[in-house]
């Protein structure tokens, strides 16, 4: 049974979402505030966390931050009713996998949940290790290395890097990456992929330009000049 944790202080919305997601065959646990949410997220083993931003006590961002500090890589889908694009992107920068602004179509939510669950480790597509330009991806071990240094990646970041390594230096379009890693087409004003890429770059801090932006087309991996 796939277990989902929903952290939202909007009780009515939570119970309705519970109905919808239960009908889709998921087992839902609710938490109405940040502290409870964090406790449950850390204690239980959930396949996915749906996280509202505005919460009493610690807010969604803080919760996410502490969760990631504990090295929990459970996929997180942020639900946000706050308008700013900054707010939307802020979640991704803290390590959320995707976000969905409120109000949303419940169908859209279900689709995103499915997309995020589809690519959790045990359902990985290519089990063979991949290698290109100093990057090493082992989907079986769920391990990513660059120049033999292990990278701490969230599942989404892992998938994005995997697609890039698979591309073997060719340009991988944003749409390709979005479908492979987020399970959906990229909407016009969607910056989530760029934020994920910038997160990965930050983690390769000695050499962030190894993931090259090809304007208007996508991204590709660059081999080191000396290599």
């Amino acid at each position: 049974m796939t277990k989902i944790l929903l952290v939202d202080d909007d009780a009515e919305l939570s119970s309705m979402l519970e109905q919808i997601l239960t009908r889709e065959g998921y087992e839902l646990t609710l938490a109405a505030d940040g502290e409870t949410g964090l406790q449950r997220a850390l204690s239980g083993s959930y396949n996915l966390i749906l996280l509202d931003v505005m919460l009493p006590g610690i807010d969604g961002f803080q919760l996410l931050q502490r969760l990631r500090q504990q090295a929990r890589s459970t996929p997180v889908l942020m639900l946000t009713a706050r308008g700013d694009d900054d707010d939307r992107v802020a979640g991704l920068e803290l390590g959320a996998d995707d976000y969905l602004p409120k109000p949303f179509y419940p169908k859209e939510l279900v689709a995103r949940v499915k997309a995020l669950l589809r690519r959790t480790p045990n359902t990985s597509v290519t089990p063979e290790p991949l290698e290109h330009a100093g990057f090493h991806i082992d989907p079986m071990q769920n391990e990513a290395k660059v120049d033999d240094v292990v990278l701490e990646l969230t599942p989404t970041e892992f998938d994005i890097l995997r697609v890039l390594v698979q591309g073997a230096g060719q340009v991988v379009s944003k749409d390709q990456m979005s479908v492979a890693a987020l399970g959906r087409q990229l909407a016009p004003f969607d910056r989530s992929l760029d934020v994920h890429i910038s997160n990965i770059r930050k983690k390769i801090h000695h050499n962030p330009e190894r993931i090259q932006t090809v304007r208007g087309r996508g991204y590709r991996l660059m081999a080191l000049a000396s290599a």
């Binding site: 909007d10 009515e12 919305l13 309705m16 979402l17 109905q19 919808i20 009908r23 505005m54 009713a81 706050r82 308008g83 700013d84 900054d86 707010d87 602004p101 409120k102 109000p103 949303f104 179509y105 419940p106 169908k107 016009p188 004003f189 910056r191 304007r215 208007g216």
Partner: protein, 454 residues
């Protein structure tokens, strides 16, 4: 704190200018004095000594030498001073006061010297029996020339000194007055881009009007920042408060539909449409407000406009193939250059164009033409439709929020925020938007953007 009268800039300027003028005037006066004072006495030249010594050694001749009397050559007696007697001092008549003063001084001198003065050379004093006389002779041509040259040199030195002096003074003045103004200008620019505490250096500590201005400026910057924060918070709260119930309604609608499990009843469908419309309106009002209040952060990158409009057309086709077919991106015109790569914010630019194109799609049923023209440093992107156009008097109103062309005829048209959003976004990008009816029919909206952003 208000500026006291004695601290006021006007008073300071007054005093400063007075001091400066006083300084310039007195220095030039001193210089003039310095250079115009008579040349220092020189020892007697050997030739004079040779000519005069024999003549003056005879005491009888010496006694007969009275002012006005000619001696050998050009030498003439100009003054004599006897040790006693009623008229012990005799001076030649018709002699200027300054010359007289010089004569009096020279009569007291210890030994004979020669002093060039005006056109004459004053020579003496010579003694005999305690009587003293002074002689003059006209300057020779050579001496005269030397005098003129040295006068010229003096004048040049004077002019140079004055120029350097006044230059130095104006630099001091400039630094003192212009630097604070420059800093204030810079600070104002910083405030304009949203910096809460602009760099004013020591300016607010000044006690004059400039200090007052600096303090007012920094208060304003603070107030602006506070109100901007308040605005941001308000927007965030409002959007949260409106979106949460909308989210519930959306979910509730889905639940009620699924439970009945038959084709959605028309009232529910209407509700669904209105819900979507409502969230659309909220989204747009919030975007508009963010744009108007400068809360949108620009991320300038190189934007290939051709790629952007083609992507836009492709996205419209994806949603509605029929609409997509109506959007035509014209290739480059022979004399207008290609679609440019601009330094701009791609999302905002897309917002501008997407709203214009969607608007045209909604209000007309013909083709929509997109083309680009270059005009100096500006690029004009035209969105033209082939509909009925807009009455001239409404062209300006097109960009007002909630204005709709003819609501009765276009029931399904938007909420009237698209064009307003486009305009605000274009302004944020440093461009502008104008609308006009094309001579051959249809509305033509022109987005003008600078090549390099600002």
């Amino acid at each position: 704190m208000r500026t006291r009268w004695y601290q006021s800039l006007s008073l300071r300027l007054l005093i400063l200018f007075w001091l400066l003028f006083f300084g310039v005037a007195s220095s030039s006066y001193l210089l003039a004095l310095w250079f115009s004072k008579p040349v220092e006495p020189q020892p007697l030249s050997a030739s004079v000594q040779n000519t005069l010594t024999p003549l003056l050694s005879d005491s009888q001749t010496f006694a007969s030498l009275t002012p006005g009397r000619l001696l050998a050559g050009d030498f003439r007696v100009v003054a004599s001073l006897a040790p006693e007697g009623k008229e012990r001092l005799q001076v030649e008549r018709n002699i200027g006061t300054s010359m007289q003063r010089l004569i009096m001084r020279q009569l007291e001198a210890d030994q004979a010297e020669q002093i060039p003065y005006n056109n004459q050379m004053l020579i003496g004093p010579f003694y005999n029996n305690e009587r003293r006389i002074l002689l003059v002779r006209p300057l020779t041509l050579e001496e005269r020339r030397m005098q003129v040259v040295s006068e010229q040199e003096a004048q040049e030195a004077q002019t140079t000194a004055l120029l350097i002096g006044s230059g130095f003074i104006s630099i001091v003045l400039g630094v003192w007055l212009v630097r604070p103004l420059k800093r204030l200008t810079q600070a104002t620019r910083q405030i304009a881009v949203g910096i809460e505490s602009p760099e004013l250096h020591g300016l607010p500590k000044r006690s004059d009007e400039l200090g007052e201005l600096a303090r007012a400026l920094s208060n304003t910057a603070h107030d602006l920042a506070v109100s901007r924060d308040a605005q941001r918070r308000l927007l965030s709260d409002v959007s949260h408060e409106l979106r949460s119930p909308l989210a519930r309604m959306q979910v509730a609608l889905t639940l009620s539909h699924d439970e009945n499990d038959d084709s959605m009843n028309p009232h529910m469908q209407q509700m669904g449409r209105d819900l979507e419309r409502l969230s659309n309106i909220i989204e747009r009002i919030l975007s508009l407000s963010r744009l108007e209040n400068g809360l949108v952060k620009l991320t300038r990158v190189d934007v290939d406009t051709r790629e952007l409009v083609e992507q836009l057309a492709a996205d419209l086709s994806y949603v509605d193939a029929e609409q997509g077919r109506r959007v035509h991106v014209l290739p480059k015109a022979p004399d207008h250059g290609d679609w440019p790569v601009l330094s701009s914010d791609s999302e905002l630019l897309r917002l501008v164009l997407e709203n214009l194109v969607r608007n045209a799609l909604q209000y007309t049923s013909e083709l929509i033409e997109l083309r680009c023209e270059k005009d100096g440093n500006l690029y004009h992107i035209f969105v033209r439709d082939f509909g009925e156009g807009v009455p001239e008097e409404q062209l300006q109103k097109l960009f007002e929020p909630f204005f709709r062309g003819d609501p009765s005829r276009h029931h399904k048209a938007g909420v009237g925020l698209g064009m307003a959003l486009s305009l605000r976004a274009a302004l944020v990008l440093g461009g502008k938007i104008t609308a006009q009816n094309h001579p051959d029919g249809g509305l033509e909206v022109c987005v003008s953007l600078p090549k390099d952003g600002k």
